[in-house]
Symmetry: C2
Subunit: 312 residues, 2 copies
């Protein structure tokens, strides 16, 4: 199958996203993603009040589907959303993949909002939920040659997820305006992406990715109690590295650890693994062989590496 | 006209929200707010990437309309949105009010999102925009008897709006999940609302309101460079107070200033002015006479005060 950037995205609206919903009618239905589907009173749009997951799909296989669904459930709990019907959401993900024309890589996104505004501040109690499947951009150049990142202050101490859970650090919410503003700031600084720093000087994550660094012989990612999202792709990379006998650790990573890292990667569901080739304008070595192994490990299935990585 | 909680909300979709848009076709049109109007790829819902304003309307008059429109324009600039066509948005606000059945009080909300996802991270470049007008809840009890507030950490230092503009503090964005989580936390603590504190111990604002306190003879609100939204209702109250010869000031308000305040109010476009009758469970005196004067000053037009305030 030839990649086709104009292939048609698939939308599956989920009618029974909540565990307690009455078991009548279809659980989900395919609708036209080009037609309006969301009401102007949906709290997802009026307040960014909802959650999402992005799931990479390679050769028709949804990568780390169960960890993604588990994280969606944790995000729902952090936002006091009703308990989700994960079986229905899983079935809708499969239905979206099945309905999409075959493609080497897809990105499937699952959205759950608090639903329409109701009489209480909690809304109507009926979440709006859907799954969208589409081909993503071509990340071959980023995966092969790396990206330029800048560090930006996230404003929070590394411990706010513990002290102040209402700040929702560690939940994957729809309130991503700050993440997007940070990416625009990176663009103004001539870079492609961001590594957020806590206000007390620790490296955290990107606006849409997990941070992995190599300090000496150790592969490190920030501790999950430091307000970062638990990375599904990062977790797969760590399992692959541990299988190789490498040392991995979840630890506090200082700004200076970051700057003396031998290599830096950002892990996410769409781009999978990209090396950072410059941090705040300072060159960082790119390890193509390790990047190729990480990409193969993340894909888990036969996967066409970019030309620049395939010989590794 | 009798207030009618079941009166029909009005939706005006704006087709030319951007100053540079081609001047053809209607600028806006009235549509059914109960029908879906927003696409699932709109960055307003997928990323909370947009801005809004809430405008109180009393007896058909939009309160502080020009300050609200000016703030919408400032929020747009902070989010690097295209320059808005404020004349069109103003006309759409008037159209929504005119189309709504007469009511003593309306709440008009203006939304502008970055529009559908496009090929770049900046989206398609065509914002989605609409105006929604509806009767709000009945706030008579809150205005008369006051509300219970708790202080919650906002996680940011008071200076982040200056040091880290990508955190969008001071912009009124659609990414309000944290504000809503804070209100749920207030509910768990037996309270109705929140006063956010900066991580360095200064009182800021509510999740959807400005803070006004009285310390001795001075009426105080936090400085606008401390990451708070420039309050339109608060500004009107200050003008009213200054007209009375009272002393007003924009200053850093410490946690201890807040706790020794003679009175505390929260100001916003829907509830207008509500006194705080308890802060973190400690009783705060309610000044009904001053609250009644503030409400009259904010309304600016003949306004039916709640029964408990009308004799003041």
């Amino acid at each position: 199958v030839t990649p086709d950037a104009t292939s048609r995205p698939v939308l599956i609206m989920i009618r029974r996203a909540v565990a307690a919903a009455a078991p009548s009618g279809p659980r989900f239905e395919r609708l036209d993603p080009r037609s309006p589907q969301i009401g102007v009173l949906d709290l997802g749009i009026t307040r960014g009040d909802g959650i999402f997951e992005s799931i990479g799909v390679i050769g028709g296989v949804a990568l780390e589907l169960e960890p993604h669904l588990a994280r969606l459930g944790r995000s729902a709990a952090m936002l006091d959303l009703p308990q989700l019907d994960i079986d229905t959401i899983r079935a809708a993900v499969h239905a979206a993949i099945d309905a999409h024309e075959p493609a080497p890589e897809l990105l499937v996104k699952v959205f759950v909002t608090r639903g329409p505004e109701g009489n209480s501040t909690e809304g109507s109690g009926t979440p709006t939920a859907w799954v969208h499947a589409a081909e993503g951009p071509d990340y071959a150049a980023e995966r092969t040659h790396g990206i330029r990142a800048v560090t930006l202050d996230r404003g929070y101490r590394r411990d706010v997820a513990v002290t102040s859970p209402w700040l929702l650090q560690g939940a994957k919410t729809l309130s991503y305006a700050v993440n997007r503003a940070a990416l625009r700031e990176a663009g103004r600084r001539g870079a492609d992406d961001v590594v957020f720093l806590s206000s007390d000087g620790f490296a955290l994550e990107g606006p849409a990715s997990s941070l992995i660094i190599r300090n000496g012989a150790r592969f490190r990612t920030p501790r999950l109690d430091s307000g970062v999202l638990a990375g599904t792709t990062q977790a797969t990379v760590f399992r692959m590295l541990e299988g190789e006998g490498q040392t991995t650790e979840y630890s506090h990573i200082t700004d200076s650890d970051l700057r003396r890292a031998a290599n830096i990667w950002l892990a996410s569901s769409g781009r999978l693994i990209v090396p950072v080739r410059a941090l705040d304008g300072v060159e960082v070595p790119v390890d193509r062989e390790m990047t190729a192994r990480m990409l193969r490990g993340v894909a888990g299935v036969p996967f066409a590496l970019p030309v620049g990585l395939e010989r590794h």
